[in-house]
C-alpha cells in the first residue's frame, strides 16, 4: 500500500504535466525524444552534430538525467556529464573499428524551456580518424540513447571537401542505426611530388645518400600535410 502511494507520488509531476496540456495539445513530439544527427565527414575529422528535443510529456524524465541535483539549474558539470552519458550510448565505427568521440561543443536551454517541450539541446562530437587511406570507407553510427522514448534522424552532411564523396546511406527503419559509405580521394599534388623527386635526386648528387634522406624526409612531411588538407 505504502509502495503504491509512493509510486503515485513519484508519477505526480508527469501526471501534472500531462494534465496541464491543452485539450488539443499544440506541442510537438509530445511523448517522444527527437534525436537528430548530422554526420559531417571531412578529411582529418568527422563530426556528429546532434539536436535533442524532448517532448513535453517526457521532458521531466530527460531533465532528471541532466539536472542531477534537481536544483533547477543545469550547471556546466551537469551538461558535461549528460554529454558523456549520451556519448556512451553512441557507437561509431569506421571501417568496422570503434572510434572514440570527443565532445566539441554543447548548448543546453534553460530547464524551463526544456519542460515546455520546445527546448533543443545541441551537442557536437568529433572524431579524428587519422590519415584515411584512399578508397572506399564505411562509417556506422548506432544511437542507443533512451530507445524506449526516442525517435531518430541520421543524415550525412554534404562534405565541404571534394576529397570526400558520399556514395551511399542506409538506415534501419527508425534511424537509430545508419551506415554512410564514402570515398576518400586525397588531392593529387603532382607538382609537389615532382619537386620532391628532383630535390631528392639533387640531395644525393650534392651530399650523397644522407642528403637525399634529409631532403626526402622534409618533403614527405610537406606532402603528408598538404594531403591532410
Amino acid at each position: 500500500m505504502v509502495e503504491t502511494v509512493n509510486r503515485i507520488f513519484h508519477c505526480l509531476p508527469l501526471l501534472a504535466a500531462i494534465a496541464s496540456l491543452p485539450a488539443r495539445a499544440p506541442a510537438h513530439q509530445l511523448d517522444e525524444y527527437l534525436q537528430a544527427t548530422l554526420v559531417a565527414i571531412e578529411p582529418g575529422e568527422i563530426r556528429l552534430e546532434i539536436n535533442l528535443t524532448p517532448g513535453v510529456a517526457i521532458a521531466d524524465e530527460v531533465l532528471g538525467l541532466i539536472d542531477r541535483n534537481r536544483d533547477g539549474i543545469i550547471s556546466s558539470e551537469e551538461s558535461a556529464a549528460y554529454a558523456e552519458l549520451l556519448k556512451r550510448d553512441l557507437i561509431v565505427r569506421l571501417d568496422g573499428r570503434n572510434v572514440e568521440l570527443k565532445l566539441a561543443a554543447l548548448n543546453f536551454p534553460e530547464p524551463e524551456e526544456i519542460r515546455t517541450g520546445w527546448g533543443i539541446i545541441q551537442l557536437e562530437y568529433s572524431v579524428k580518424p587519422g590519415a584515411l587511406a584512399a578508397g572506399p570507407h564505411k562509417l556506422t553510427l548506432e544511437n542507443r540513447h533512451l530507445p524506449a522514448m526516442s525517435v531518430y534522424l541520421i543524415n550525412a552532411a554534404r562534405p565541404s571537401s571534394t576529397s570526400v564523396q558520399i556514395t551511399g546511406q542506409t538506415r534501419d527503419k527508425n534511424q537509430s542505426t545508419g551506415e554512410i559509405a564514402f570515398d576518400f580521394r586525397p588531392p593529387r599534388r603532382p607538382l609537389i611530388w615532382l619537386v620532391a623527386i628532383v630535390l631528392f635526386a639533387g640531395g644525393i648528387l650534392l651530399y650523397g645518400g644522407g642528403g637525399g634522406w634529409v631532403f626526402g624526409r622534409v618533403l614527405s612531411q610537406l606532402a603528408s600535410r598538404s594531403s591532410a588538407n
Partner: protein, 345 residues
C-alpha cells in the same frame, strides 16, 4: 458564429485590403521599397528604432523559428502592439513582396494560429515567460535588416509560430531563402469553407508520387521513418547528401510536376522573383532529387526536393493523433541563403 465572422472578415481584409494590383506592376523592387517606407512612416521614433536592425546583424537575421514566440523571442514589432493603420501598413509591406498566392498562404497560416488559439484558449498563461499569449495573429512580428532600398542590401522578416518569412533584397534581386511555412491546424473551416494553407503542396506531392512507376518508386521512397525536418530552423549553413530519385530519371511530365510542386514555395515570392527562381530550377532539373517517406496518402508522408539551388522539406508532425493536421516545411537555397552570395565579400 461571431468568432467565425471576425475570422472571415480578417482574412478578407488581409487578402483584399492590401492591393494585389501590386502584382501587375512595372518596377516591383521600387514598389516593395515604397510599401516598406510607408509602413516605417506610420511609426514613432521608438518603434522605428525597434523594427530596423543593422543589415549586418546576423543574430537577428537568424532569429526565426517554427516555435511560438513565447519560446523563441522574435525581434522587431509585434502585430498586437501596433495600431490598426500601422498593422495594415505592415501587412501591405509584406504583401508587396509576395505573390497573391504567397500572401494568401501567409495569412492562412496566421489564421490557423488564431484558430489554434481559440481551441487552446491561448490567452495569457500564468507562469509562462512574460505571461504572454502563445498563439494568434497578434503574436507575429515584423522587422527589417537595413533600410528599405532599391540599391543597397536589405531584408524584411515576418513571422511567428509556424511562419518565418525571410526575404533579402539586393538591388533588383531577391530571395525567400531560408523561410519556414507550417500549419496547425493544417485544415480548418471559416464560414463553412475549408481552408488548407499547405493544401496545394500536399496534393501535388501525392500526385507526383502516384505518377511514378514501380522502379521509380523504389528509388524515390526512403526505407525509413522521417519524424521531422532535417534542415529546419537553426540548421543554417548545413547541407545534406541528396537521396531519392534524380530528376534525370523522371519523365518530362514528372519533371513538370516536380517543378510545379516546388513552385508552391518559390511562388510565395512576387511573380518576377519567382520566375527567375523557376528558370534556375529548370536549368538544374536533372540534378534535382525527390524523396518520399511514409504512406502514399495525402498529408501523411514526409517529402523532400533537393537540387543545387533549392532545398525543400515537408514533414507532418506526430501528435499522437492526426499527422495531417500539423505540418512543418522549410525552403532553402544551398548556394544562396539570405542572398549571401550577392552581398557577402
Amino acid at each position: 458564429m461571431i468568432k467565425k465572422i471576425i475570422l472571415a472578415s480578417t482574412l478578407a481584409l488581409f487578402c483584399g485590403g492590401f492591393g494585389f494590383d501590386n502584382f501587375a506592376r512595372g518596377n516591383p523592387t521600387a514598389e516593395i521599397v515604397a510599401a516598406a517606407k510607408r509602413f516605417l512612416a506610420t511609426l514613432d521614433d521608438a518603434q522605428r528604432a525597434k523594427v530596423v536592425y543593422d543589415f549586418k546583424d546576423d543574430a537577428q537575421r537568424k532569429r526565426w523559428s517554427n516555435l511560438p514566440t513565447r519560446f523563441v523571442k522574435r525581434g522587431g514589432l509585434r502585430m498586437g502592439d501596433l495600431t490598426k493603420p500601422q498593422r495594415e501598413a505592415a501587412m501591405a509591406a509584406v504583401a508587396a513582396a509576395l505573390s497573391a498566392q504567397g500572401y494568401e498562404k501567409v495569412t492562412q497560416i496566421v489564421e490557423a494560429d488564431e484558430v489554434l488559439k481559440d481551441d487552446d484558449h491561448g490567452g495569457p498563461r500564468p507562469g509562462g515567460p512574460g505571461g504572454q499569449a502563445m498563439f494568434g495573429r497578434d503574436e507575429y512580428y515584423i522587422s527589417f535588416l537595413g533600410q528599405p532600398s532599391a540599391t543597397e542590401p536589405w531584408m524584411i522578416q515576418f513571422g511567428g509560430h509556424h511562419l518565418g518569412i525571410n526575404i533579402t533584397f539586393v538591388g533588383d534581386r531577391a530571395t525567400l531563402a531560408p523561410s519556414h511555412t507550417g500549419a496547425q491546424p493544417a485544415i480548418y473551416e471559416i464560414e463553412g469553407k475549408t481552408v488548407r494553407p499547405l493544401g496545394r503542396e500536399t496534393d501535388k506531392a501525392l500526385a507526383l508520387l502516384n505518377s511514378l512507376d514501380k522502379a521509380q518508386r523504389q528509388q524515390a521512397i526512403l526505407g525509413f521513418e522521417m519524424h521531422d525536418l532535417v534542415l529546419g530552423p537553426g540548421r543554417d549553413g548545413q547541407t545534406i547528401e541528396p537521396e531519392g530519385i534524380k530528376g534525370s530519371a523522371l519523365t518530362e511530365k514528372q519533371r513538370e510536376m516536380l517543378l510545379d510542386l516546388a513552385s508552391e514555395w518559390t511562388g510565395i515570392m512576387n511573380d518576377d522573383v519567382a520566375r527567375i527562381k523557376m528558370d534556375d530550377m529548370k536549368k538544374h532539373i536533372d540534378e534535382t532529387w525527390f524523396a518520399w517517406s511514409g504512406p502514399a496518402e495525402k498529408g501523411k508522408a514526409y517529402f523532400r526536393i533537393q537540387g543545387p539551388t533549392v532545398f525543400i522539406e515537408y514533414a507532418p508532425q506526430r501528435l499522437g493523433g492526426d499527422v495531417t493536421k500539423h505540418i512543418h516545411t522549410i525552403y532553402r537555397d544551398p548556394e544562396n541563403d539570405y542572398g549571401a552570395k550577392w552581398w557577402k565579400q
